[in-house]
Every structure is written in C-alpha cells, then in structure tokens.
C-alpha cells in the first residue's frame, strides 16, 4: 500500500465521529444543558442537608426545640432537587444514547458504501477475516464504548467539576486535602494507562 499505517489521535477520532452528528448540533446543545442542570441540582443537595443538620445542632446546643417546620420545608426542597437532577440525567442519558447510536448507524452506512467502492486491489490484498473483523467486531466495540461509557464519562466529568467548585466554596482547607488526593489518583491512572503502551510496542503484530 502506498499509505503507511497512519495513527489517529484521540482528537482526530473524536472529530471524525462528531462529523457524523453535524446536523444534530441543537440536540447536542440540549444534552449539554441537561447535563449541567442535572449536576447543579445534585450538587446543591448537600448544601440543603448542611442547613438541616446545622439547624438541629443549633437547637441542641442552645437547648431549644427543633424547628420541624423549617426542616420539613428543607426536606421538600431536597426531594425536588434530587428528582430534578435525576430527570435531567435521564434525559441526557437517553439523548446521548440516541446520538451515539445514530453516529454508529451512519458510520456503518459509510462502511457499507465503502465496501462497494473499494478497488479490487484492496480486496485482493487484504486478509478477508481481518477486513470482516473491522466492519463487524470493531464497529460493535466502538458502539458499546460510545454508548454506555461516553455517556457516563460526560455525566461524571460534569459532576466532578461541580463538586470541586462547591468544596472550594464550603471550605478551602479541607478542599486542599482533596486537591492533593485528586492529582495523585490522576497520576496513578496515567501510570496505568501508559504502562501497556510501552510493553506492547516491541511485540507488535505478527
């Protein structure tokens, strides 16, 4: 083949995949809004809990009656927050599933079209099973990676950002403990994902 084996960066792959959803920009926007909304609602819940606990603690230390009307009011707000958060998360998950499956469907159509357009040269020169594996196994792997995992990553990434902000607002010193732990776990993660790369390079394909 005249083209050397090219490697695609994460960015290039993402760009090519997002190309399949060019006409769904408005939907992607809604999903982003829903994700952010879901995160914000979930993140404010502990603040409400904090107020409840503080109110009870206050009553006990000052030896006054517990303010149940305030607490029940806060509990209703808490429930509303959780329900709203779950609702938005549900919407976002549904829509990302739809979007990722749509992208895969379009990718599969592309593959089908490509099979018809390939020169016979390519077909004659490649191993059939490997070619088939690309259009079946790899498409399935990509599909499941996109569908379940990408959605989760999006949900989790937004909540991590939100939580970090809230922690900073609550107390800077305690947040510091976390800011030491987070890079540490990121470092461990990096270490683990890097390790296989170095070892597999020498024993590459037959």
């Amino acid at each position: 083949m005249k083209t050397k084996k090219r490697k695609y960066s994460f960015g290039a792959i993402g760009q090519r995949l997002s190309h399949y959803l060019k006409d769904k920009k408005h939907l992607i926007f809604f999903v982003a809004v829903a994700l952010i909304a879901s995160t914000i609602f979930a993140i404010f819940a502990p603040v409400v809990t904090k107020d409840i606990t503080d109110s009870i603690a206050d009553s006990i230390t000052k030896n006054t009656d517990i303010d149940f009307s305030y607490i029940s009011q806060q509990l209703i707000i808490l429930a509303a927050l959780y329900i709203l958060s779950a609702g938005f998360a549900y919407y976002a998950t549904m829509r990302t599933t739809y979007l990722s499956q749509l992208a895969i469907k379009r990718l599969r159509a592309d593959i089908q079209e490509k099979l018809n357009k390939l020169t016979l040269n390519v077909l004659d020169q490649s191993e059939r099973g490997d070619l088939l594996s690309r259009v079946t196994n790899d498409a399935t792997t990509l599909s499941s990676a996109l569908q379940s995992n990408l959605t989760q990553i999006l949900v989790q990434a937004t909540s991590i950002i939100g939580i970090i902000v809230m922690m900073l607002v609550l107390n800077v010193q305690l947040s510091l403990i976390f800011f030491i732990a987070l890079p540490l776990s990121y470092f461990v993660m990096k270490l683990i994902t890097k390790k296989p790369r170095c070892c597999s390079e020498d024993s590459s394909r037959n």
Binding site: D130, I153, T193, C199, S204
Partner: protein, 393 residues
C-alpha cells in the same frame, strides 16, 4: 496501546478461522488439522494474553483510586473534626463535605474504568477509519452513455498498458478487436494475463495507458453500472445465494417474471432437471449446494446470464470435469447463450478453442498471436506448438 493489540489479535484470529473454514476440505486432505490447530492455539494464546493484560491494568486502576480516595476521606474526617472542635466550622459543613467527598469518589473511579473502554473503542475506531481511508475506485465520469439495448458488442483494445502494481507492468501494449457476435478464445499458460483481460474488460481495474472502446465509446467515460449492464459473466465457481432456484435465476434481471425465468432455464438446458426436483422452481438452494451437482449449478449460472441478455459475454470455462451428459447440456447451453453475442472465453477445452472465430494466444501479458485455428496452425508458432503437444497426449 494494549487495546489496539487486542483488537488486532482478534482480527487475525478471525482471519485464521475464516481461512481454515473456507479451505476445510483442503486442510483435511493434506492432514493439516493439527498444524492449523497449532497456529490457532498460538494466536488464541496471544489474544488471551493481550486481553488478560489489558484487563489486568484496567482492573487495577479502580481499586487503587478507591484507596487514594478513602485516604482523602479519612483526612477530611480528622481535619474536619478538629475544625468543628475549635469552632471554625459547623457540623453541617463537614457533613456536606463528606457527602461531596463520597460523591466525587465514585465518578473518578468510574471515569478511570470507562477510560479503558473508551480506549478500546478508540482502537476499534482507528481500525475502522483505516479501512474507510483505503484506496477507492476512481469516481465515474459518466460523460458518455452507452445505449445497451442497441449495442452490438464491438470491443477494441488500443495499446493498453496495465499492471496491478505501479512498478510492475503486466500488459505492455495490448491491441485487439472483437467484432459483434464473434467468439474469442483466450488461450495461454497460467499467469499469461487471461484473467487480467477480463478484469480490464469489466473495469474492475483501471488501465494505465491506452484505451478500451465498447461500441466506439471509451469505457472510461461510461459509468460502471452502464458498462457492466452490457456484460454477462459466467465464472468457474458458481455463486448461488440462499434462496429459491427461481430467485437465483431472476437475479440477472430486475423484475423478471416466472415466464422469463422458465424461458431462460429452457435455453440453458436446466428446465428439465429443475422440474424433476420435488419443489421445482421453488426449491431452496443455499451456499452449500447440497441439493445440486456442480454441473447443475453451472447451468443455473448460465440461465441467470441468459435472462440478463447481455451484449458481451465473458466465460471462464470450467476445468473441473462433469459427467458426459451434463457436459453435453452445458455445451448446448453455452452455444445458446453465445449466439449473437460477442464472447470472450478463457478456454481450456480444445473443442471450444477450435470452434472459436478468433484465438488470442497470450503469454507474459502480451498477445503473441491472433487468428483462427487454421490460420494459427499454418503460422506454426507458439499456439501450433501448444496444440500439437496437447493433442499428442
């Protein structure tokens, strides 16, 4: 990356399965079962290892991150406790903080887990894109249109130069004319370029230099579907799909009626045996051809080509021997099919060759001799030698 390797090993594993499955009988007859099992074991072992190590690392990351997060959790408890005692913080704040610490732990663990799946997905995407970026056929120009209905089937090769690889030219300077209705037998040793001639006629490959004209039109200027609708092809190994006999014959022409199918089957000498089948034209045949003999499959392929009514025929004469009766049927069917059509036959049987209007003797990618049997015998060249040595046997 480990995940890329995993997908690669899976690909080569499938490649081997496909290969051995296809050549099942050959593998058995050469007693290579043990060898292919060995080869399979080796690849399977490699796949197992790469799968295991990729899962090992991805399995390791989640517990490690959990450990770190739990340590942070303890730190917050201790620090927070001190803050509450010294009165710089309320109990509620530390409670909220612990909820946050808990909530942040699970997404980070999940993300690290998911990143591995995303990596596997990226490896898969890479292989798909690699496939999508492979060489494509030149787009059709379609500047000229061939009227297939009135085409008589005149074909001309003008100084054609071609090679499968750019640096290795196979056809150096091939020129050739086929008049409408002529039968041309393409003869020559293997590797002479007989199949290449067919590949170029059908435009499966593009020529480097020169031109191929069909009815005076350069085939490069036609669309491929337009060009190919003028051609009919019967190859050595018959491809029949899973469906009824009728569907398989009707494949040659869209919207073919039962009458069309039967008429074609009659011309192809297969009506008789089809009627003898318990379910006649409704008989299901599959990829494994269990119900039909090889000769019968060939007859069906001929019927399929007849129904398409192409102007130019390309036949790859079967080298495999069929029983004498079927052989006669096939010859009759072939003759019916070739009538009035320009025909290229990659010929193996002397009978076919002798009866051809023109014999094209090819060697090393060049046409060495062209002429009728009588003319070439008189010439006393390469063809005459081949013929004499073949008829001696």
């Amino acid at each position: 990356m480990l995940f890329r390797r995993q997908q690669q090993e899976l690909g080569s594993l499938n490649g081997l399965i496909e290969e051995v499955y296809d050549g099942h009988l050959i593998v058995k007859s050469f007693n290579h079962e043990a060898k292919s099992a060995e080869k399979f074991d080796a690849i399977n072992q490699r796949f197992f290892k790469s799968y295991l190590s990729s899962r090992f690392y991805s399995g390791l990351s989640a517990p490690l991150m959990k450990l770190i997060n739990n340590l942070a959790y303890i730190g917050i408890c201790v620090m927070g406790g001190i803050f509450v005692i010294t009165g710089t913080m309320t109990i509620g704040t530390i409670q909220a903080f612990l909820i946050y610490a808990n909530n942040i732990a699970s997404p980070t663990a999940l993300i690290s887990n998911n990143l591995n799946f995303i990596q596997a997905g990226a490896a898969a995407a890479e292989r798909i894109f690699e496939f999508l970026d492979r060489e494509e056929e030149q787009p059709d120009r379609g500047t000229e249109v061939l009227d297939v209905a009135t085409t008589k089937g005149r074909i001309e090769f003008k100084n054609v130069e071609f090679g499968y690889l750019p640096e290795r030219t196979l056809f150096h300077d091939v020129s050739l004319t086929a008049e409408p209705g002529e039968i041309l037998a393409v003869v020559g040793p293997s590797g002479a370029g007989k199949t290449t001639l067919v590949n170029l006629l059908m435009r499966f490959y593009e020529i480097n230099q020169g031109s191929i004209l069909l009815e005076g039109l350069n085939v490069k200027n036609l669309t491929r579907p337009n060009l190919r609708s003028a051609f009919g092809m019967v190859l050595q190994d018959t491809w029949l799909f899973d469906g009824t006999i009728e569907e398989n014959i009707a494949y040659g022409k869209s919207g073919a009626t039962r009458e069309d199918v039967i008429a074609a089957a009659k011309k192809a000498q297969c009506d008789e045996f089809i009627r003898k089948l318990p379910r006649g034209y409704e008989t299901r045949i599959g990829g494994d051809f269990t119900t039909l003999s090889e000769g019968e499959c060939q007859l069906l392929a001929i019927a399929r080509t007849i129904i398409a009514d192409p102007k130019v025929l390309i036949l790859d004469e079967a080298t495999s021997s069929v029983d004498t009766r079927t052989e006669i049927l096939i010859t009759q069917a072939m003759e019916a099919m070739m009538k009035g059509r320009t025909t290229f036959i990659i010929a193996h049987r002397l009978f076919t060759i002798k009866n051809a209007d023109k014999i094209i003797f090819m060697m090393e990618g060049d046409i060495k001799e062209v002429g009728s049997h009588a003319e070439l015998m008189k010439l006393g060249g390469l063809y005459a030698n081949l013929y004499l040595s073949a008829s001696d046997n």
